[in-house]
């Protein structure tokens, strides 16, 4: 009896505590639908003149790993229209994000909205509710949306495209007597420029002309320039073990070992070394603009398109590009939350102002067509350097094993003395083993200039 009473007391205490934490949600109640507000959008339109969730208070969580203020801006704009809705962005570091999110979604406890990286497409797909939007409307407004249509449904699209570029320190460039005319177009010219930008004290490098430390995952995809796809003609089998990859790797190794324009031991992270003013040039993707603005605001930099092997010849592709994805809707969220999330996504996809700021933050070529001719975006040095995406390949959502295995191969070659042939063959085997457990299919065949064996 006493035992039962004690358990009862503990249970009651627990109930009380639970009640304190998740009691009445409070929040604003809206009785009357707004009216007279402008409808936004081109083909896809968003009409805010309505009650959302019947005017009752509701809260949604929105998980992301970066750019919190830029994404929260969408939520803030939406909340002004519908004050009964609270959308709270929750930032998680990248590793924690991909550890927690899939397991939360699997246990039906995840956030109503969450940001997507397409390398985790297969992981997230079972938990994504399709947008309650006609696919043809999205295709009309968003470049590349067609690539995301499955069974006439869309679970997310790209809001912008990003690729790799060469970033250079303008002060170092000028100090070396270089002008805009010296911008290298080929890798041979690039080597000469890197040499001019290098400073040494005897054998010791004081300023690296070019630093690619920790940027290996991206360099691995430059095989496109040599006319090699990343997957075989079946679009399923990895094809990273090819002469193009080995030639590229050897070129970069020579930059360090023969030309001595950089070193594996100088600036272990190229981005930080560039930001700290130790390295004159690095290769990095467009998102670096946001990182530099946040961590190294004092640095004055320029960008130019990644060089190619032969002057005057159009390569099979300059590089790959990747889309930055719009948020996904958790199909395990409550019906009310999903309904609000669907409404919010219509707003998100038509919110030109916040979309422009988001695209500028990441230096993206915008996928939202009304922003395509925007003067401010076009003047962005990163977007400008990127030029047309016609000769860039989007290989589709690439499973993370491509990047992790390629990085490991490069590290093994550079730091552990493994022969390039052995390391690349190892990466090929590792990727093949990981892909064997997935339904991966490359989107390379959708490239406008696709050839199964381009070389």
């Amino acid at each position: 009896m006493k035992l039962a009473r004690a358990i009862g007391l503990i249970g009651a205490a627990a109930l009380l505590l639970t009640g304190c934490g998740t009691g009445s949600s409070g929040g604003t109640v809206v009785d009357k639908a707004p009216s007279g507000l402008p409808v936004q959008g081109e083909t896809l339109k968003y009409d805010p003149n309505k009650l959302v969730n019947g005017g009752k208070p509701i809260e949604l969580e929105w998980w992301l790993w970066d750019g919190q203020d830029k994404f929260q801006a969408f939520a803030d704009s939406y909340q002004k229209l519908h004050p009964n809705v609270t959308i709270k962005t929750v930032n998680q570091p990248w590793e924690a994000y991909w550890t927690k999110l899939p397991l939360q979604l699997q246990s039906k406890k995840g956030p109503a909205l969450f940001n997507i990286h397409n390398s985790f497409d297969e992981t997230l797909d079972p938990y994504l509710a399709p947008y309650d939007i006609e696919a043809k409307d999205l295709e009309a407004d968003y470049s590349g949306a067609a690539g995301h249509v499955v069974d006439d449904k869309v679970k997310y699209v790209d809001f912008g495209m990003m690729t790799g570029l060469i970033w250079y320190n303008k002060a170092m460039w000028a100090e070396a007597g270089l002008t805009e005319q010296d911008t290298p177009k080929t890798w041979d010219e690039f080597r000469d420029v890197a040499e001019k930008l290098t400073k040494r004290d005897g054998e010791t490098i004081k300023q690296a002309g070019f630093n690619f430390n920790s940027a290996y995952n991206s360099l691995g995809f430059l095989q496109y320039q040599k006319g090699y796809n990343v997957t075989s003609a079946d679009a399923k089998t990895p094809a990273v073990d090819n002469p193009g990859t080995l030639e590229n790797m050897q070129y970069f190794l020579d930059l360090y070992n023969k030309d001595k324009v950089g070193s594996k031991d100088f600036g272990p992270k190229a981005v930080d070394s560039f930001g700290q003013g130790q390295s004159a040039m690095i290769y990095e993707w467009g998102h670096l603009r946001g990182t530099l603005a946040k961590n190294y605001p004092g640095i004055d930099y320029g960008t130019f398109q990644t060089p190619i092997p032969d002057a005057g010849q159009t390569p099979y592709a300059f590089d790959r590009y990747n889309g930055e994805s719009t948020p996904g809707i958790n199909n395990g969220a409550s019906e009310d939350q999903q309904a609000v999330a669907q409404d919010f996504m219509k707003f998100f996809l038509t919110d030109k102002t916040d979309m422009k700021n988001l695209v500028l933050n990441y230096s993206l070529a915008p996928a939202y067509k009304p922003l395509e001719g925007d003067a401010e975006i076009s003047a962005n040095p990163v977007v400008k350097a990127m030029g047309s995406l016609d000769r860039y390949i989007w290989p589709g959502p690439m499973p993370a094993t491509f990047e992790t295995s390629i990085t490991k191969a490069w590290q093994d070659v550079i730091y552990n003395g493994v022969a390039p042939e052995t390391a690349i063959a190892g990466a090929q085997t590792a990727i093949a083993a990981d892909l064997a457990k997935t339904d991966f299919t490359s989107a390379e065949p959708t490239y406008a200039h696709y050839a199964p064996n381009p070389r």
């Binding site: 006493k2 035992l3 009473r5 004690a6 358990i7 503990i10 590793e95 991909w98 550890t99 899939p102 397991l103 979604l105 699997q106 992981t123 079972p126 010791t204 430390n213 594996k264 031991d265 100088f266 600036g267 272990p268 070394s273 700290q276 130790q278 993370a400 094993t401 992790t404 990085t407 490991k408 590290q411 093994d412 550079i414 730091y415 552990n416 493994v418 990981d434 457990k437």
Partner: protein, 316 residues
Amino acid sequence: MTLSLRPRVSKAPPGGTPGISTRRRVRTYPGERALRNTVIIIVAGSLLLLTAYPIGLAFVGSFHYWNPLNGAFDFVGLENYTTLLSSPDFWGSMIRTGFFSAVVIFFRVALGLAIAVAIFSQLTRGKAFFRTIFYMPTVTPLVAVAYVWQMMYNPQTGAINTFLGLDLNWLYDPQLALPSIMAMTIWKDFGYAVILFLAGLHSVPEDALEAASVDGAGAWQRFWRITFPLLAPMTVFVVITSIISYLQAFVQVLVLTKGGPGTATQLISYLIYDKAFVKYDFGYASAAAFVLLIVTALLTLISFRLSVGRKNSLEG
């Protein structure tokens, strides 16, 4: 209703002879039994729910291709274990983990003991200050420590190369990367051993040491012949808890090197993390975790047996 806190004395068993009962009389307080039972139920329930159940599930899962994200849970028999045991990646990680643990434990014990003896010495003033200083890294979060050390290890801007006038790439040179992680771990953890050994030193009988002095034993002899053997239980405790802890070392690897360069610093826990939470192959990761569990249990048992053997030989 009033609450009496006076102990209640249980009656002698029926049929027993008053005054000559062999049973000890049990004194209880009102509600004591209920409280005890409640606590036991909560602790046992928590253990079952939070420890036994996940371990059992992982054990079963280690015989399956298990990806919780797409619901795959297909029986594959011993395939995960055979793949694991024939994988150079796994054995490399195990060997690295063994080496890492052995070195860190050795230095943790040696430094901890040496500093504890120094602080305990009657010649040392400001004992509380030194205790605090040496214990401080132990209570600092490991993630924060690892980030600071990562900055210190930077070959161009880091404090270590700057102060020592060196030009070493601590975290990217395959020969230096693992020792660099070890150094950080030893610095972070040896303070814990200092505190434990200090507690042990207080229990060493003063008269034994004085008697040895009278017999002409020097400071070294007193330490090796009396103090150190009497600290054996504490040493064993430090070693066993360290074995359990370092075979699972993970955070420092994640922050400092992510297992690189290549796999030069990939310890077994990082391999398990990579398989489970990057590639979502929970079956393989569970098999690796079970092998680690068996190794940990065996090493702990061996340490324990050795200490018992040593104790018996000392007493015999």
